[in-house]
Amino acid sequence: MPRLDWWPEETAEACPDPETLATFVDGRLDAKERSRVAGHVAGCSRCHEVFLGIVRFREDEEPGTRPRAAGPWLALAATVAALVVAGLLLRARSSSLPDPGSYLASLPTAAATSDAEPWPVLVFRGPATTDASADSAFEIGVLLVDAQALAARGDAAGARPRFMRLALLLDHAGFVEQEADAFREASRASGEDVRRHAPRIASLARGLGERFDRSDLLLGSWAEAARLAAHAQDASFFAEPRQAAILDAARQRQGLGPETARALTDIAALWPNGRDRPEWTKLAEASSRLIESRVR
C-alpha cells in the first residue's frame, strides 16, 4: 500500500475537545459538525494522531466486527447497549482470530496428501466483480486454500485455474498488482514446479488482508479448510480451538444472508469435537453449502 510520510498542516480552527473527537468516532455528530471535525482531523496532525489512536485500538480489539451508530441522535441508548453486549460476547473470541496469512501458513496439509479427491469441479458462477466486495474476499479465501493444497501436492493442472481465477479477481479489485502478478506466474508453473508456489500463498494472503475485508477472507479460507478436513475425516482440525472460534465469530456477524446463516448453524450442529461418530459427509456438505451461499 502506498504511504506518504508527510501531510500539510492546516489548523485554522481550534482543536476539538476529546469528547467531541470521541463523539465523531462514535458517529454521533450531526452532519454539519461531522464535516467540520472531519476536516480538522484531516489537517491537524495532533488531532489526527488522537483519532488514529482510537481507530487503531478499536480495530485491533475487535477487527471487522464493530458497527457504527447509523444516525447522530436516534436510539443512542439502545445502540450503545447493543455495542457493549456484542463487544463482551465477541471480545473473547475475536481477540484470538488469526489474520488470513498466519491462518493459511499453519493449515494442516492432510488434504494435500490424501488419496481422496475432494476437489469439486470448479464452477465460477459469474464474472469477477468490479470491486473488492465481501463476496470477492470470501471467494479469494476459498481459492487460496485450494491453490495452496493443490500446489503442495504438485497438482499443477488443478492449481492452474485457481491461480488464474485469483489473478482475475485481484485485477478487478485494483491496487494489488504484485499479488495478481504472483498468481499469474504461479498459473504458468507446470508439473512438480508448482510446488514452490505453495509456501508463498500465506505471505501473499497477508498483503491481501490489507486490501480486502479480512474477516471475509478468513471465513472463506476457513470454510474451504473445514470442507477439505471433513472429506479427509481429519478430527484434529476440528479439535483446534481457533477453528471453533472462527465459527463462533462468523455466527455472531450481522447481515450474512439466510443461506449462509443456515449453513453455519448446520456446521455448528455437526461439529465433530467430542463425538464418537462424526457425520463427516454431512459436515462436508454443509461446508459446501456455506461456500456456495457466498461464491456467486
Binding site: 470521541a22 462514535d26 454521533r28 482531523v41 482510537i54 485500538f57 457504527r68 455495542l83 480486502f212
Partner: protein, 274 residues
C-alpha cells in the same frame, strides 16, 4: 453519565474501566514502539493524571460519546503530551515505525540527537544491548528516509557542510530541496480543494495505511461506494497536481531517495482504465 452500565462516582468509573485504561495505554505504547521502561512510566503517570484533582478528567465526561471511546481519546491526548516530554518535537518517520523499535531508536539518534552512524551503532550495541551487527544496523539506517536535508536546509547551512562534500552534491541537494518544497506546496493546495471528509479518507488510506474496509467501518460508510469514491479523489488530486505543473516524473526524481517501500500518491496506477 449516559450509559446504563456506568457506576455512579468518578472513582467507581475509574476502577470499573481500569482494565480498558491499561489495555489502551499498552496498545498505544506498543504502536509507538516505546521502550518497556518508558511504557511503564507512561502507564503510571496516566493513572495519576486520571485520579488527579478528584478524577477531574473523568468528571468532564458529558455523555455525548460512549465512555470507552472518551477514555481512549483522553489517553491518546495524555500520550502525546508524554511524547512531547520524552522526545520534544521529534517524531519517528512512518518508515521507521514500520521497521520496528530499533529503527525508531536509531532514527532518533541520527536525527534528533545528531549522532554519527558509528556513535549510534555503538550506543545501541553496548548501552541498549541491541543484538545486531554493525553491518545490520548500517543497512537499517540506509532504509530510513533522508530527513536531515529536507526543506529546512538553507543555503548558509549547505555552505557549512564539511569540506569533503563535492560541489555537485551541494547543487544536487539544493535542487532536490527546491523540488520537494514545490511538490509539498502543490500538494497542500490540491488537498485544500477536496471536501473535508475526502481529505480525511485520503489521509487515512495514503498516510495511515488503513484499508478501505477499515475506513468504511470507522466512518460508517459503505465499503463498495468508498472504493469508487477513493479512486475519484485520487484522480481529482492527480489532475490538480498536474494543473500546477507537478508531474509524476518530478515526484519520482525526488522519491528516488526514499526507501523502496515508500510511495507517493502520484506513483499509484489508476484502476479501471482511468
Amino acid at each position: 453519565m449516559a450509559e446504563d452500565s456506568s457506576p455512579s462516582t468518578p472513582e467507581q468509573t475509574f476502577l470499573a474501566h481500569l482494565p480498558l485504561i491499561e489495555r489502551v495505554a499498552r496498545h498505544t505504547c506498543r504502536r509507538h514502539h516505546l521502550a518497556a521502561q518508558d511504557a511503564e512510566e507512561f502507564e503510571s503517570a496516566l493513572k495519576l493524571k486520571l485520579i488527579a484533582d478528584d478524577y477531574a478528567a473523568i468528571r468532564k465526561f458529558q455523555g455525548r460519546s460512549s465512555l470507552p471511546t472518551f477514555l481512549t481519546a483522553v489517553i491518546q491526548h495524555y500520550f502525546l503530551d508524554y511524547l512531547d516530554h520524552l522526545w520534544g518535537r521529534w517524531r519517528p518517520s512512518a518508515e521507521a515505525r514500520r521497521l520496528g523499535p530499533i529503527a525508531v531508536q536509531l532514527e532518533r539518534m541520527l536525527t534528533a540527537e545528531s549522532l554519527t552512524l558509528g556513535e549510534a551503532c555503538e550506543l545501541l550495541r553496548t548501552n541498549r544491548r541491541v543484538a545486531m551487527s554493525v553491518e545490520q544496523l548500517e543497512d537499517l539506517a540506509s532504509r530510513l528516509p533522508a530527513r536531515t536535508a529536507r526543506r529546512f536546509t538553507g543555503e548558509e547551512a549547505l555552505a557549512a557542510l564539511p569540506s569533503a562534500a563535492q560541489a555537485d552534491d551541494l547543487v544536487d541537494l539544493s535542487e532536490r530541496n527546491r523540488l520537494r518544497s514545490r511538490i509539498e506546496g502543490g500538494l497542500a493546495k490540491a488537498l485544500a480543494r477536496l471536501a473535508e471528509e475526502d481529505r480525511l479518507i485520503l489521509r487515512m488510506n495514503v498516510q495511515d495505511g488503513l484499508t478501505v474496509a477499515s475506513i468504511a467501518r470507522t466512518l460508517g460508510l459503505d465499503a463498495k461506494t468508498l472504493y469508487r469514491r477513493l479512486e475519484q479523489v485520487r484522480r481529482d488530486l492527480r489532475q490538480s497536481l498536474t494543473a500546477q505543473g507537478i508531474q509524476a516524473t518530478d515526484v519520482d526524481t525526488l522519491l528516488g531517495e526514499e526507501p523502496p517501500r515508500s510511495r507517493a500518491i502520484l506513483r499509484m496506477r489508476p484502476s479501471n482504465g482511468v
